[in-house]
Symmetry: C2
Subunit: 344 residues, 2 copies
DNA sequence: CGTGATTGAGAAACCGTTTTATCAAGACTG
DNA sequence: CAGTCTTGATAAAACGGTTTCTCAATCACG
């Protein structure tokens, strides 16, 4: 469509019969001039299909309308929803996002950070796959603002995390709400902060004696946990799993044992990884961490920082929400697609 | 670390006792000068920690060292490996990647494309979740080069796809290699070009009469297909599935029926979606589409195009490769992590 | 009606590079 | 030794915008 030569502001000015200075001011709604002139310039620009060269603009304003997103989450399980939220918050402002996957390689991280800085990013958002670990790069003392989303930042940084405690509490409360009394929590390794937080919240609701089983973040561990629980007497009637993969393993194992979900046992997961949660039989009731909203918020914050507005440092906690499907019984099952995309 | 003021080339020039022109040429290995001068400038630049302002550079060279990646694959199943490859090919060249998810929204697509063009991207790579569909944006006649990776481009475009036929052939051959004779193909909807290609290749090897069952791309369909196949007499002893999710459904259904995989039946998938393939019991032998390599190639091509080098248009086909795990028997099972990351 | 304040618009400087054109000095050439 | 060729380096002009000054024309006011 648009071919060869790009329209420059110079062209707009000439056609509109004004100087470039006036044209610039007209288009940016700055400076003083007749409303008529401003309108004429704007219409001319629109008619000519003028799109300002972002590079030139960046050079003078020292703003590139670009932010960098750094992640070490290769599969994108966490990064993609966050990214979607960020983009959503920024696209209207004309801000684009550089995505850089850096594995856990410090050197690669440094390379990418430098590339970003060279490109004059207005800010950097760091995100990861684990809330209690820092990325293998030092982002402190950079000339640009940094926001940490779903990964740990240094003291005094602006950090966004989802509310593990509230999510775990809601999950456990949901189990009690559907009438379960013998609750257990099957979760990941004790070394994860979020595991400890969730386990704490679980016991807050289920009682200090309620069992918590630690293992890997895998379906296999879900199977094994069920084997253990059913080997002892008095198996649970409500299982809160640390993530959806464990939950899937648990549900599969229960079916293999002939234990009905949700009739005999309710199972609830954590993450709302749709690809897993929707494939379990029955579909998994789980906790959604609202990562997209977290991304949106991160986008908003980095923008404010980039514009020089003051942002209070510290950890901001965003609520999780319960997504009801059919693995807990009790509630009316909701159509999957609907529920998942229903968020505001 | 690096604080307040950035070092400009002006500073380097002053300290090195040369003009900015000389400094620029020294650092870019252009122009004529004593080797001594060149070296002195370079050393000064290094000592001062000079990093050129990419915006300013972009303005003169009309190259931003930036490319846009457009995708409609929300889950990142296909996009992320492609992206990883692209980044790998480009990071050494100092090129960064804008990632834009555009769902299937034409308007959103246009917004993002325009944002990219404003930022003077050197090229755009379009990728998607389906090889036979175009993205809902028109990228033809743009001022910048475009490469299509794993998505359909218009006539005469530079397009990269994985070799569905070869992959399907290899999968089927593998089933025969482990001694299977009654083969079936359980795959996705007939409307997908890759489904038809793979089915064709399957029959090429397995015989024209070999059954092909079409359904959804889901575990549920895998279950149902098994139910159907075992309802009739003479069930298959080798099943080639159109993707890993179907394969997982098939394997689960077989276990529920007490049919041993791989003793009684061999199952092979397609995609090598590790999160699925590694979680099936037994782990899934499957076909890897080499998406990362596809991304690398896309990166290389877009770079050549951006540099004005001639690139022959047309469709380039990259080979798939067989990833052996344990669902087919026959071969020595390979440790999962090893196999997956072993690629060159 | 003269004078100071306000308004609308433009000229020019600037942002940090690259690149082109220019130029002085030294190296050949005949 | 005068004239031409190289060579190494520089000044200045881009690149495409934004922003700061400056200034003439209009307006308000006593």
């Amino acid at each position: 469509m648009a071919k060869a030569e790009r329209i420059r502001i110079y062209d707009v000015a000439r056609v509109a019969g004004v100087s470039v200075a006036t044209a610039s001011k007209a288009l940016n709604d700055t400076g003083r001039m007749t409303e008529a002139t401003r309108l004429r310039v704007k219409q001319t620009a629109a008619a000519l299909g003028f799109r300002p060269n972002a590079m030139a603009r960046a050079l003078t304003q020292n703003r590139s309308f670009t932010v960098g997103l750094l992640t070490n989450d290769t599969y994108g399980r966490f990064t993609l929803p966050v990214m979607a939220g960020i983009n959503e918050a920024l696209v209207d402002q004309g801000v684009s996002v550089f995505l850089c996957g850096i594995e856990d390689d410090a050197e690669l991280g440094a390379v990418h950070v430098n590339a970003m800085l060279d490109k004059q990013v207005d800010g950097i958002i760091a995100t990861g796959k684990r809330i209690d670990r820092q990325l293998p790069v030092d982002l402190s003392g950079l000339a640009v603002p940094v926001v940490y989303a779903f990964t740990q930042g240094p003291e005094g940084a602006v950090t966004l995390v989802s509310d593990d405690a509230q999510g775990a509490r809601d999950a456990t409360l949901h189990l009690t709400a559907v009438g379960r009394r013998r609750l257990v929590h099957v979760t990941g390794p004790d070394s994860f902060a979020s595991v400890r937080t969730r386990a704490g919240a679980f016991r807050e609701v289920a009682g200090d004696e309620a069992p918590v089983l630690h293992g890997a973040w895998s379906e296999a561990w879900g199977h094994e946990a069920v084997a253990r629980l059913w080997a002892e007497g008095n198996p649970p009637d409500g299982i809160f799993c640390g993530n959806d993969q464990i939950a899937r393993g648990v549900i599969d194992a229960l079916r293999e044992r002939g234990v009905s979900v949700p009739d005999a046992v309710s199972v609830i997961g954590f993450d709302n990884w749709e690809i897993v949660a929707a494939a379990t039989r029955p579909p998994l009731t789980t906790i959604d961490m609202n990562l997209k909203e977290l991304g949106r918020e991160a986008g908003r914050l980095i923008l404010e920082l980039a514009e020089g507005k003051p942002v209070e440092p510290g950890i901001r906690t965003l609520p999780c929400k319960l997504v009801m499907r059919q693995s807990c019984g009790g509630a009316t099952p909701v159509a999957d697609k609907l529920e998942v995309h229903q968020e505001v």
